[in-house]
């Protein structure tokens, strides 16, 4: 099979990411990888719950005094929207509309950057309050859990940007379709993890 073959919207397959053997393998392998990532985050969540609000005796920080929901709520909305825009991008990939896909991926990247900026602002704010990484077991667990998610966002952004730039002049092929598809899967995963962070860390922290 010629991987560089040019397709038209009529000849373009329904699931371009799973036509070649490489594509099929990538698709399945990536799902499995996400399964492992889920266990990874589960371990981080469990640790966070065990160490929540724990620190040296007389520590003044707690989830109640620290977190402010409005900011986190905005971050959540931004990231959820970015998941939606990446769905649009995949929709355009199915319909062989390359420009549309690149555009929506571009919007996804912008939203992701906005999220990241707010997260950096948030972390910076905590550190200024004296809640730094080494302050307590609580601070270590919090920054590690949320920070690991943040690193995933960075990786996702770099990955999507690379794809956009690398393929800008080439259009679709059965070679790059699986790459786009897995990148969007990754982005969804990041989003789902954030929903759990929002609930478990912030909502349950402030309300519960």
């Amino acid at each position: 099979m010629d991987l560089n073959k040019k397709y038209t919207p009529q000849t373009w397959p329904d699931h371009p990411e799973q036509v070649t053997m490489e594509g099929k393998n990538k698709f399945l392998g990536f799902w499995l990888f996400l399964g492992g990532e889920t266990v990874l985050f589960a371990s981080l969540f469990a640790t966070y719950l065990a160490l929540k609000n724990k620190g040296p005796s007389g520590m003044e920080f707690s989830t109640q005094t620290l977190f402010e929901l409005p900011l986190v709520f905005i971050m959540t909305m931004i990231l959820l929207t970015s998941s939606l825009t990446s769905v649009y991008a995949m929709y355009h990939m199915k319909n062989h509309n390359f420009k549309g896909m690149q555009l929506w991926l571009g919007i996804t990247v912008v939203l992701g950057l906005a999220f990241l900026a707010l997260e950096i602002y948030e972390f910076n704010h905590y550190v200024h309050l004296g809640f730094n990484y080494s302050q307590s077991a609580f601070s270590s667990a919090f920054f590690t859990l949320v920070g690991t998610h943040g690193i995933h966002v960075v990786v996702g952004l770099v990955w999507i940007i690379l794809l956009i730039v690398r393929n800008a002049k080439r259009g679709f092929s059965l070679y790059n379709a699986p790459k786009y598809y897995t990148a969007s899967l990754y982005w969804h995963f990041i989003d789902v993890v954030w929903v759990f962070i929002f609930t478990v860390v912030y909502l349950m922290g402030v309300v519960g």
Binding site: L3, M21, K24, N25, L28, G29, L32, F33, G35, G36, E37, V39, L40, S43, L44, T47, A50, L51, K54, G55, P56, M59, Y133, S134, S136, A137, F138, S139, S140, A141, T144, W159, L162, L163, R166, Y175, K179
Partner: protein
């Protein structure tokens, strides 16, 4: 192609191996590297037994003793047993399912290099200020207090090697799900493939908790974290949970492939279909599942409370049921077979009583109240050596003889093989059987010496003598390998004459593209079926001869690994040397840049043309 390969100079061969993505070559590299680590771990074991041969010995100091036992355990589990099994899986599984290669040849190579460099990193600790000394379990209360950089080498080295294992696991899973030849349904997969499958699934879910645990250790020791420091609100039990949520599945990651190897051997040399095939598959899956439910049996004495202890005790004993099923199936496979007692079969026969002994002590320890007595004594040491040496190592030695002709187109000497077997088998029981009693008599594990008045002299001496028997067996094995390699007599197809599955149907030496045409699988033990029906070629094909698509070699996996290796030193000396952070950044940059090159540079592979394939046949 194969004839060209032989004329290459040393440089070209080296480059070939540094860049190869061929599962057969990667298998050889796993075998060699794992074998070297096995020897290193073995030397450490001998030092332990020499130190304990007599009371009040001062052969090594207490501190050095701790380093030796830690490195012995860590090396044997992570750098010897697992990689050697990975070698056999790589060599055999793709052929067994009739695949061209694994699903991700590039990642296969990456996984190998990560393992190797992780192992080298860990072992460099010996020359850079001292090895880790908190045991292979590295409990946080010990490891946080350990001075020097030993523990840092442990945490970072295992992190690198572990990433390699994780990648390998995903690779095998996808290979088995997606790349089976036509007709190879799940219930026709040979047991070696099934156990590879389940062990890989265990890797997928067991390694992330270890990764997180090691990260916490790295963060606590090098980057100001407080996960395990109770004065800062931390909790050292978190490490124990994370470690054992990984650790118990890990023992099944080791033993399941061993079960697979023995299942192949019993069927081949009893010349009978494996008894109870479907219950074997069921038992394998069930063991894999239950393996995740029992980790706290390593923590009975921590004080989790009677309810938790009771639940984990019952779950632990439940595992004995599927394991027992397997034992009976093997016995019934031999029953009424026309048995050939070759070296692999000898190991298989010896495995059954040895492993059962280890299983029985396992159930004893699983009884929580009794474990309060047994815990941290030599009884535990005896138990896990019965399962690991009596199970995994016997399987590795058996597989070495069984698959040697498949991997190298030569046969190891049966005569020397039997010498190895008897030395090893007798030495093994001599070393470890008596340790049960040492444990019951109160000797704690991980002590560097004991007093002459404690009544443990004789048993310890016997145990140490046994260790020398095992060492003698291994030395004979090395001699056997050297002699065989020098003689270099090719064996040809179906070297054991009774091969049953696809890997034995392939011509020798195995062409680099594996099967010229994809085989059609017509039942369990397809090769046996074809032979019974008088098919000279041993295979029915699913497709006409056509071009074969192959992946390109790549140097990128090596570069990615080197980057992480360099970054490891940066992390290790963080806050101590001013070059630490730049080195950390440099290393990570090399890795990330290599990944970017991989993702930006297209790699479509190449084709072997039909005409060349036909010539190859004519030329042979």
């Amino acid at each position: 192609m194969s004839s060209i390969a032989q004329k290459k100079g040393f440089g070209a061969t080296l480059w070939d191996y540094l860049t190869t993505v061929d599962h057969k070559k990667i298998a050889v590299m796993y075998l060699i590297a794992g074998g070297l680590f096995f020897v290193i771990g073995g030397i450490e074991a001998m030092l332990i037994r020499i130190q304990l041969a007599k009371p009040d010995n001062d052969f090594v100091s207490a501190g050095l003793f701790n380093e030796i036992i830690t490195m012995h355990g860590t090396t044997m589990i992570f750098l010897a047993a697992m990689p050697i099994l990975f070698g056999f899986m790589n060599a055999v599984m793709p052929l067994q399912i009739g695949a061209r290669d694994v699903a991700f040849p590039f990642l296969n190579s990456l996984g190998f290099w990560l393992f190797l460099f992780g192992g080298i990193f860990l072992n460099l600790s010996w020359f850079m200020g001292g090895a880790p000394d908190a045991g292979w379990t590295s409990y946080a209360s010990l490891s946080l207090a350990s001075p020097g950089h030993g523990i840092d080498f442990y945490a970072i080295g295992l992190q690198i090697a572990g990433a390699g294992t994780y990648i390998g696991g995903i690779n095998f899973l996808v290979t088995i799900i997606n790349m089976r030849a036509p007709g190879m349904t799940y219930m026709r997969m040979p047991l070696m493939t099934w156990t590879t499958f389940v062990a890989s699934a265990l890797i997928l879910f067991a390694f992330p908790p270890l990764t997180i645990g090691l990260f916490f250790l790295i963060l606590d020791r090098m980057f100001g974290g407080n996960f395990f420091d109770h004065t800062m609100g931390g909790n050292t039990i978190i490490w124990e949970h994370l470690f054992w949520i990984f650790g118990h599945p890990e023992v099944y990651i080791l033993i399941l492939p061993a079960f697979g190897i023995f299942s192949e051997i019993f069927a081949i040399f009893a010349r009978k279909r494996l008894f109870g095939y479907s219950s074997m598959v069921f038992a394998t899956v069930l063991i894999g599942f239950l393996g995740f439910m029992v980790w706290a049996h390593h923590m009975f004495t921590v004080g989790l409370g009677p309810t938790a202890n009771a639940i984990f005790a019952v779950a632990t004993m439940a595992i004995a049921v599927p394991t027992g099923m397997k034992i009976f199936n093997w016995l019934l496979t031999i029953w009424g077979g026309s048995i050939k007692v070759t070296v692999p079969m000898l190991y298989a026969l010896a495995f059954i009583p040895s492993f059962v002994a280890g299983g029985v002590t396992g159930v004893m320890q699983g009884a929580a109240p009794l474990d309060y007595q047994l815990h941290d004594s030599y009884f535990i040491v005896a138990h896990f050596h019965y399962v690991i040496v009596g199970g995994v190592v016997l399987a590795i030695l058996a597989a070495l003889h069984l698959y040697w002709p498949l991997m190298f187109n030569q046969m190891l000497s049966e005569k020397l093989g039997k010498w190895t077997f008897w030395f090893f088998f007798i030495g093994f029981h001599m070393t470890f059987f008596i340790q049960h009693f040492l444990g019951l008599m109160g000797m704690p594990r991980r002590v560097f010496t004991f007093g002459a008045d404690q009544g443990w002299d004789l048993f310890n001496l016997i145990s140490s003598v046994g260790a020398f028997f095992m060492a003698a067996g291994v030395i004979i094995l090395v001699v056997n390998i050297i002699i065989t390699a020098v003689k270099n007599v090719p064996v040809g197809n179906d070297p054991w004459e009774d091969g049953r599955t696809l890997e034995w149907a392939i011509p020798q030496p195995v062409p680099f593209y594996n099967f010229k045409q994809t085989p059609l699988v017509r039942g369990l033990d397809t090769f046996w079926i074809e032979k019974q029906e008088g098919n000279k070629e041993g295979m029915t094909y699913a497709e006409p001869l056509s071009d074969i698509h192959m992946p390109n070699n790549s140097f990128i996996p090596f570069m990615m690994t080197v980057g992480l290796f360099i970054a490891g030193f940066g992390a290790l000396y963080n806050g101590e040397k001013e070059w630490a952070v730049p080195v950390l950044v440099l290393g990570l940059a090399i890795t990330v840049a290599s990944m970017a090159v991989r993702s930006v540079k297209d790699d479509h592979g190449f084709h072997i043309h039909k005409e060349d394939l036909m010539n190859e046949k004519g030329g042979k």
